[in-house]
């Protein structure tokens, strides 16, 4: 491969670094990955400085929540052939998008002793609200198997096996008993994008939607069922307003119960 290895860049914006850690936790495949691609920039993993060159593939973690990030992402976009956003922050605005329903100035005044040093935006928004994105990899954090599949698909030239379907599909393939039907545990699985391996239901908990809404997320019907089962309006708002609460389908649903 040598010279022809594709150049990979990994960048972060407003985020917790958890998705980048998923790259590093690819332990068994990490050496093969660095053989297959040139890690041109990955601040969390290498001390190599940004050489200012172009990238064949760029992974971006984090949302846009400060003015410098809105600038930075444009520069990254210009330098990237194939831009992939990774994680709930980059694809939906993240948990920090909860600020989007509140007065940010008030937070700044209350939290910080010297608010004049804080330079932040009113909202936390996904990368796709600022520049065109070629692929969004969901999750909080992303699933490392899905990341490996995405990179492999790009290298081999196939459509990535990342299915936009409900978490229920995964539960049923795994033989999980439905927590909602068998125990009355509220679960966002039917309206949430699969990819986590149905992690929460596998541990007897309801899905809280960290992979964000799937296509045709029919949130109003699910919320109606929660209500019928006794869920209060405030709780309904909170259910849909989690790590991907700013994603349009979840956002509209939570706002309809305010």
């Amino acid at each position: 491969m040598g010279e022809t290895r594709p150049r990979l860049g990994v960048f972060k914006l407003a985020s917790c670094d958890g998705c980048q850690l998923q790259v590093l936790s690819l332990e068994d495949e990490l050496l093969a990955l660095t053989d297959a691609v040139e890690l041109a920039f990955f601040a969390e993993a290498t001390s190599r400085a940004d050489d200012g060159g172009a990238f064949d593939v760029t992974l971006v973690e984090g949302s846009i929540s400060a003015p410098w990030q809105a600038e930075h992402i444009r520069e990254i976009r210009e330098r990237s052939k194939f831009l992939i956003t990774i994680g709930a922050c980059a694809t939906a605005g993240g948990i920090q998008a909860l600020r989007n329903w509140r007065d940010v100035d008030e937070f700044v005044r209350t939290v910080y002793a010297s608010p004049e040093y804080i330079d932040t935006l009113e909202t936390s928004t996904p990368v796709s609200a600022h520049v065109p994105v070629d692929f969004e990899l969901r999750g909080c954090p992303i699933d490392k198997g899905q990341l490996l599949e995405l990179v492999t698909a790009l290298l081999v030239g196939r459509k990535p096996a990342i299915r936009d379907e409900s978490v229920c599909m995964q539960c049923k393939r795994d033989g999980n008993v439905c927590v909602m039907v068998a125990r009355g545990e509220p679960c966002l699985g039917p309206v949430t994008h699969a990819g986590c391996g149905a992690l929460c239901p596998s541990y007897d908990r309801g899905c809280y939607g960290c992979f964000g809404p799937r296509e045709r997320a029919h949130t109003s019907s699910l919320a109606g069922w929660f209500q019928k089962e006794g869920m209060a309006r405030g709780e309904l708002v909170r259910r849909f307003r989690g790590f991907t609460g700013w994603a349009p389908a979840f956002r509209e649903e939570s706002e309809s119960h305010e």
């Binding site: 495949e29 030239g157 459509k159 049923k172 699910l222």
Partner: protein, 628 residues
Amino acid sequence: MLGPTVRDHAIVFDELEGPEALPVGWSDAQGPGRYRLSEGQDGRVFEGYVVGPDSLKQALFPARDVLYQAERRPDGKVGFAPVPADPPDRAFLGVRACDLAAAEIQDRTFEHGPHAEPRYRARREGAFLVAVNCTEPGDLCFCASTKTGPRVTEGADLVLTEREDGFLVEAGTEAGREVLDAMPTEATDDSDAEWLDEAMAAAETKMGREMNTEGLPELLFGRLDHPRWDEVADRCLACGNCTNVCPTCFCSTTEEDTALGPDGAHVRLWDSCFTQGHAEIHGGGFRPEIRQRYRQWLTHKVGAWVSQFGTSGCVGCGRCIAWCPVGIDLTEEIAALREGEGEAPMPSPPAYAEAEDDDLTPRPAEVVAVSRESDDTVTLHVKVDHVERYRPGQFCQLSLPGIGEAPISISGLTRLGQGAAVEHTVRAVGGVTRALCALQPGDELGLRGPYGQPWPLDEVAGGPVLVVAGGIGLAPLRGALRAMLDRPDRYPEVHLFYGARSPDDALFVREMLGWLEEPSFHLHATVDHATPSWRGHVGVVTRLLAQDLVPEGARALICGPEVMMRFTIEALEGLGVEDDRIWVTMERHMKCATGFCGRCQYGPWFVCKDGPVFRFDRIRMLFGKEGY
């Protein structure tokens, strides 16, 4: 041994370590979207509960199955190794009548079409089935309506009926008789038989649900625009739970499981007609709306199933009602759909020749030549044995390790010294087709097939034939054209009406010029966008179909985008060509090509095995209907 056991607040079907694993004394309470288990006091083994989320399906058609291992070597050669099921012999304890009926229905999908799935067959043959008569049906049961229970009538090796003083046991097979002979039993008499008849007759009256199945296929397909479809779509989540718990649903998808290279496993996974990907082809999906997906499921389950397999796909087990997260009850939906008007005639199941084993593994085949047809389209000449098996109108599955498979029509056959090649004309539109278009002579690809129904060359012989093609739609027709032009005695007058985007996109131009030498051949070509040197027609192909060009008694073969075919058919019918003299070739998402994966369903038909070539009068009922 597998059987009912308690796990995660439900009675599932799992490995039984011993008799203590059975749910003795447990009972269930089921309602729409609701399943609750409780531990009671009595010592009943089977009668406190009915079916849980699992069925025989998990064991016989597992949710994840590796079909083959593939590798692509640096020299361009490929290898494919099938992965058989290799199942252990297993006994299944506590199987209900509805689940036995469901397995018999799945046999029709996996064993009784033109192809048989050897993994399914091996698992099925290795299963020893100990069934249980249901004397206490549940609140969601309606097997008395579907005539699939509650009494076990066939398909079991042993049948148990639970009584206060023990079990009545009947042997259903020779293997069952051997097991029974080895067990300590007491002889039964007429009073036991009478008790059983009475208990089963009483059970029929205890069904918590009922469903009138009379004439459902005709009724549902006659009411595709019933307002109830919108109403149920307001509730349906399109999550796929109903299809996954259904013991007869069989839809699947495949994916390549490889890490950072092309080598690895080709895997089959359960899929659902409620997913977006199920009916998606390059350029869009056929069922974007939830309404269309629910309608597809229900019209298939209790409607089209009858035309496909000679039986309804519903066994009255009630699983789809219990495990729907929002409690949609198909018996209520059916009852609501009965309120209305409209009935459509439905076809009988097709007769297939005896099923041939197809383990879905491609064989390596050499690309002996590549012809470039246009900027984005090439023809691959793929060396094959038994070229006589490949007929114009059929298709093959072409594959590359780690990238995937694509169904590509046969665009011709060429002789090569001792052997022969089958031609496939491929346009680069997605991952697989781009990779196929990049192949060089000497490279190998994976080949499965041929599959499907060919053009009806015998039926159209004797009179004038109109061939109407749009764009790459000429590829599946080229083989038919060659065959007809070779035999002017049988095909005295062949008209080709061909429309391309531009003169540069027109396929097979050089060959077409050669055909013009044949007195039987008449060419009528048009383009959407002319170039300065183009002197011919500009506009859609249907405008070429004028009265003076459509001879009396003509038959027509059509291939192109569906909208082009629709307007062509309208024009031909206007010119007096009846719909039983028109054949079209349909495109739907074909993953397996053998009738197993369910994705290419088109109402009562499978495009892969009943098509892709259809006589138009047969599919007229659905042609152009959104959602199918």
